[in-house]
């Protein structure tokens, strides 16, 4: 689903992503974790055609990122880290507009949006303004934006930040169900390592723009003699820091 080699992006002097290799197979749920500023969002924005890589090659959802970005866009969904709707816009209307961007008719869009809202426990939200929703409700609306067209590959950038435990568990169930029923591939970032442990088949750890660890949660824990992913994370990213300081 994703085949990436040497993906690189710098912003002026800042090298945000430095030669990342990623392979994700169909139907996998992959967690992408790393400290603040590690390059997660930048990587996701490159893979979703929003940002042009400075170097590297990438095939995403069967289409070349560089030569066929429109092909990529047709098959992916993306939920960005920071909101998707203006504060004074009506949630249902925004969702229906987004659905129509994927070619749904007015009736199909209406039907799809109302079903998705109820699946995400947001029945009430449809007629409200985005600004009048709670933080967690907003986040679920953002997630709905990425699910409208049932993409083959879904990118979620910190989907569960700001969600209460109940909503988080609901979202996990939802993601698992999408994989079981639709064979959807999911690539998500998170700062909650117990979430990565519970939800993801495989975890990639990024630090300073480089992949510094990868494997199933069990493999990672075994390799570092750790009992939780938190410990693995601290060892792996802490060591990187020390190396950086020594260099």
């Amino acid at each position: 689903m994703i085949h990436v080699r040497g993906l690189t992006r710098s912003f002026g002097a800042v090298e945000a992503v430095r030669g990342v290799d990623v392979d994700v197979s169909e139907g996998e749920i992959v967690g992408f974790v790393g400290p603040n500023g590690a390059g997660k969002t930048t990587t996701l924005r490159m893979l979703t055609t929003l940002l042009r890589p400075t170097a590297g090659t990438a095939v995403v959802a069967g289409h070349d990122l560089f030569t066929d970005p429109a092909g990529v866009r047709r098959r992916i969904g993306y939920v960005s880290q920071n909101g998707t709707v203006g504060p004074f816009s009506e949630v249902g209307e925004e969702l229906r507009l987004q659905a129509r961007m994927y070619g749904m008719s007015r009736a199909e869009a209406r039907e799809r949006v109302s079903r998705l809202l109820s699946e995400l426990d947001l029945e009430e939200a449809g007629t409200k303004l985005y600004a009048h929703l709670s933080g967690g409700q907003k986040r679920r609306v953002d997630i709905a934006m990425g699910l409208l067209h049932s993409p083959a590959l879904l990118f979620l950038d910190e989907p569960t930040t700001g969600l209460d435990p109940q909503s988080r568990a609901n979202l996990w169930d939802h993601v698992r169900r999408l994989r079981e029923e639709a064979g959807m591939t999911v690539f998500l970032t998170t700062h909650y390592l117990e979430e990565a442990d519970a939800l993801c088949d495989r975890v990639l750890i990024i630090d300073h723009g480089r992949i510094v660890g990868s494997g199933t949660p069990a493999e990672l824990k075994a390799a570092h003699g750790a009992s939780t992913l938190d410990e693995v994370f601290l060892t792996v990213t802490g060591r990187e820091l020390r190396e950086g300081a020594a260099a």
Partner: protein, 242 residues
């Protein structure tokens, strides 16, 4: 096609949700029409038939020239990114907005013409309709460039910069007083601004002479302007937003 219709409808609905904004976009040109027009009409240098076309071009500059401001919020709140990740053509994303702006302008321009008739405009209906068409096309180019500028320059600078740039463009177009009164240097400078040709073409149309060379030039310059506006606008929509 679905996407374009959906986008245009969506933007139109939100634009007309705020009646205030529709009126406010036209308020400056309306002041000129109501508070300056009567002076001009009695001064002997112009009539309502030459002044209303000028007010229409001024309206285009003020109303469509500033539309870019709206996209700054869409960019800030992630709406633009959300749309850019869909397979919809970048040109369509631009066109949806611009068509909304054209409709807005047409409504405002229609109001200006009606008020103009109230004051003493005598232009033939056919000329007025052709004039409205020309000004609507012009507004498409202006709106595209406005979005391109808004996505390119610093958002906090955009309103100040554009509302300042609009003034010399408006004065140089001869919208207020005909450029035939201008000293040579001013006349020459004004020939480098596209809006002069639109103003002259509009005046000719309002005077009932449809086949004049002024109309031809006005139409050609306006079409060229729209083409440039759309190309630049689409380029900017294609570009990544960092």
């Amino acid at each position: 096609m679905t996407a374009l219709a959906a986008l245009t409808g969506y933007y139109l609905r939100s634009a007309f949700k705020s009646k205030f904004a529709v009126v406010f976009g036209a308020v400056q040109p309306l002041f000129y029409l109501v508070l300056f027009g009567p002076l001009l009409a009695r001064s002997g240098v112009g009539s309502w038939d030459t002044f209303v076309p000028g007010v229409l071009v001024q309206l285009g500059l003020m109303s469509s020239g500033l539309v870019g401001f709206g996209i700054v919020f869409d960019q800030r709140f992630g709406v633009l990114e959300r749309l850019r990740v869909t397979p919809v053509a970048r040109f369509t994303l631009l066109l949806g907005r611009v068509l909304k702006d054209a409709v807005m302008l047409l409504v405002q321009a229609g109001a200006v013409v009606v008020i103009g008739y109230g004051f003493g405009l005598r232009a033939p209906l056919a000329g007025v309709l052709l004039g409205l068409l020309l000004i609507t096309v012009l507004s498409v180019g202006l709106a595209s460039l406005s979005y391109a500028a808004a996505l390119t320059i610093k958002p906090e600078l955009f309103p100040a910069l554009v509302s300042t740039a609009v003034i010399p463009l408006m004065l140089l177009s001869g919208a207020l007083l005909p450029m035939s009164l201008a000293p040579t240097w001013l006349d020459v400078v004004s020939r480098f601004t596209p809006f002069r040709y639109a103003v002259e073409a509009l005046r000719s149309l309002f005077a009932g002479s449809y086949a004049s060379s002024v109309v031809l030039w006005g139409s050609l310059v306006t079409l060229g302007f729209v083409a440039v506006g759309c190309v630049v606008g689409t380029r900017v929509f294609q570009r990544e937003n960092t």
